[in-house]
């Protein structure tokens, strides 16, 4: 029992990380109906930029953090929108989704060549102590991540669905032409989407990197798990990220514990397939629209 609890808590802690990374998928989906295949790299890169800023300018940690984060939001929020999304979005979302695949290569290789091929320590803004919950160990960092994931997802769920601005963003994604006809500032909404996404990626990065270390290839692992989490939870609802993340985290932990470790990765994937067959819109997702 104690053993089970230990796995459960480890799973929840990991799951919160996946949830935090998965928010980006659900947010981008809801507000631009695209999949950002570079989401994992979005979470990887801010930490690297922060370290780079510290290294280049010899700045103290907090200043480096500010510079790195600002640079990231500028390049991958504003810049991405202006340079990639704007020219491409009128041709539908497929080229855009593919472009994010190319972007992920650029981000990953850029981090490697521009910074380091090796993992780096990343300073934690949360104490690194471990506390014991019913005899199972959990670090304060994980607790912070869980809290932030819950808070951010709650906030976003409210923002996207419950405020007029959020609904304007959704409207822009669902039917940009009509949005324009009604006078919704479509450009600004898209920009807002990408800036929020970049800002969230920064939060995730800063919280996750002290645990996972800052490394150019981290995006692959984080991206894959976050993607699975988003699908399981439901792509078209922000809260899907939370549910999906926690479930995938727990399932992964249990798989490591009780199923062959070399097939551990298969278990969340099988879960994903089952969810798609049984409830294709995801556990928390909204049903697809009427089509006939």
């Amino acid at each position: 029992m104690a053993e089970f609890l230990a796995y459960l808590i480890a799973g929840i802690a990991t799951g919160a990380i996946y949830a935090l990374a998965a928010i980006g998928f659900t947010l981008v989906w809801q507000t631009s109906q695209t999949i950002n295949f570079a989401q994992g790299e979005f979470v990887m890169l801010p930490a690297v930029l922060v370290l780079l800023a510290i290294k280049l300018f010899g700045a103290p940690v907090w200043l480096g953090a500010l510079i790195g984060i600002a640079a990231f939001i500028l390049i991958f929020g504003v810049g991405f929108k202006l340079a990639v999304v704007d020219p491409m979005i009128r041709h539908g979302v497929l080229p855009l989704a593919i472009a994010t695949m190319a972007l992920s290569i650029i981000m990953k290789e850029g981090a490697k060549d521009g910074f380091s091929a090796e993992a780096q320590k990343f300073p934690s803004f949360v104490p690194t102590e471990t506390i014991s919950v019913f005899g199972a160990a959990i670090s304060l960092q994980h607790v912070a991540i869980i809290a932030v994931a819950f808070a951010v997802i709650g906030l976003l769920q409210w923002f996207v669905g419950g405020t007029r601005l959020g609904r304007q963003m959704q409207a822009t994604a669902q039917n940009p032409t009509v949005a324009r006809i009604l006078g919704i500032p479509v450009e600004r909404m898209v920009l807002l989407t990408f800036v929020i996404n970049a800002a969230l990626a920064v939060v995730a990065s800063v919280l996750i990197s002290p645990i996972y270390l800052a490394k150019f290839s981290n995006g692959e692992v984080i991206g894959l798990f976050a993607f699975i989490a988003a699908i399981v939870g439901g792509f078209n609802q922000v809260r899907g990220a939370l549910v999906g993340g926690l479930i995938v985290g727990i399932v992964d932990s249990m798989a490591a514990a009780y199923i062959s470790t070399s097939y551990r990765l298969a278990v969340p994937l099988v879960l994903l397939v089952i969810v798609i067959l049984v409830k294709p819109e995801g556990l928390m997702g909204r049903k697809e629209e009427r089509r006939v």
Binding site: I35, F37, A83, V84, P87, M88, H91, G92, L94, P95, I98, A99, M101, A102, L103, I105, I106, E109, G110, K112, D113, E220, L224, F227, I228, I231, F235, S262, Y263, L265, A266, L269, V270, L272, V273, I276, L277, P280, E288, R291, V292
Partner: protein, 338 residues
């Protein structure tokens, strides 16, 4: 206005030349390219020949994905996994079972076709990304099996000493001989696909992409065509794998991972999804361009990705779209059909 019996995609070359009705610019290009490629390696050395062969092999896989994605609009993230199934099947059958390559090639195609059929079922749900999600899972699962089942696949250590085929007793072990063999096989596969696309099947595949609901109400068996498109596309990956194994003479799980499937997708779109010759251009960008960019050292991947991205920004229809645009401007035509 008289009704031309052919598809509007017939290029102007065919209209000007007195050729039998079914020959069009695409076919002529394919024939010309095959002839050039047959002779191309002279003076290129083994390495150049190998890269050309690798380009063609990847083109076959990309052609299959172009069918599923470009024509039928089904988003598959498992093309590399299918290629892996084909490669391992061929490698095992030729090196362990001792079957000849031709039979192994056919079996590889059949296996991938069958797996494609089964996997295609989730695609029957109307929303297209479910297929993407399922194939994502499948892709990783296949990779895990290839890696873990060492007794069969050699696991992380891979399989080596994969024999190359012979042709009516003619050994194809040399780089040039095998290259020519690859040219012939690729040409045949391309012609089959070309024929399929311009047959009513091709039209039905496009209908799946454009409006599956309307298609179903017009008697188009969307279930059958969806499965067919996906299974045939997968079989092409299987064929590509069956060529890849003897070309490299060694396989391990890494070239069949999820990121490789993404890479193949990039090639389809960069080449021009929904253009018959797009895959060759896409694979050229994906396979040969990196070789040309070697001078850039480790930066070449960034350059490659940036080129793809710029290309997509300039023209989301990829290189083929760009070329078509240029051609239309040259010939003064207004709008090109696919």
């Amino acid at each position: 206005m008289t009704a031309p019996a052919t598809h509007s995609a017939a290029t102007s070359a065919a209209r000007r030349l007195p050729l039998p009705g079914f020959i069009d610019g695409t076919l002529l290009t394919l024939v010309a390219a095959a002839i050039i490629l047959w002779f191309a390696p002279s003076g290129m050395g083994r390495y150049g020949t190998y890269v050309l062969s690798l380009w063609l092999v990847m083109s076959v896989a990309v052609m299959g994905l172009n069918l599923t994605l470009g024509y039928a609009g089904l988003k598959s993230l498992a093309q590399a996994a299918f290629m892996g199934i084909g490669a391992y099947a061929t490698a095992l059958l030729t090196s362990k079972v001792g079957l000849n390559w031709y039979a192994s090639f056919a079996i590889s195609g059949l296996i991938t076709f069958a797996v494609g059929l089964v996997l295609g079922f989730p695609a029957l749900r109307v929303k297209a990304h479910y297929l993407a999600f399922v194939t994502l899972a499948f892709s990783t699962l296949i990779w895990l099996i290839l890696r873990n089942e060492q007794w069969l696949t050699g696991g992380v250590f891979g399989l080596s000493n994969i024999p190359r085929p012979s042709f009516f007793g003619l050994k194809l072990d040399g780089a040039l001989a095998f290259h020519r063999f690859v040219v012939v096989v690729t040409f045949l596969l391309a012609v089959v696909l070309w024929w399929m696309i311009r047959s009513p099947w091709g039209r039905a595949f496009t209908a799946l992409r454009e409006n599956p609901i309307r298609a179903a109400s017009l008697g188009i068996d969307t279930r059958m065509y969806t499965l067919l498109a996906f299974a045939i596309g997968s079989a092409y990956a299987g064929f590509a794998g069956a060529l890849y194994a003897p070309l490299v003479e060694f396989i391990d799980p890494s070239p069949f991972s999820l990121s490789q499937s993404f890479f193949l997708l990039l090639m389809v779109v960069a080449g021009g999804a929904g253009y018959l010759l797009g895959p060759f251009i896409g694979a050229l960008l994906g396979v040969v361009l990196p070789e040309w960019l070697r001078f850039a050292g480790s930066l070449y991947l960034i350059i490659f990705a940036a080129i793809v991205m710029l290309l997509l920004i300039a023209c989301p229809q990829g290189m083929s779209g760009l070329l078509e645009r240029g051609w239309n401007r040259l010939t003064g035509k207004k709008e090109g059909a696919r």
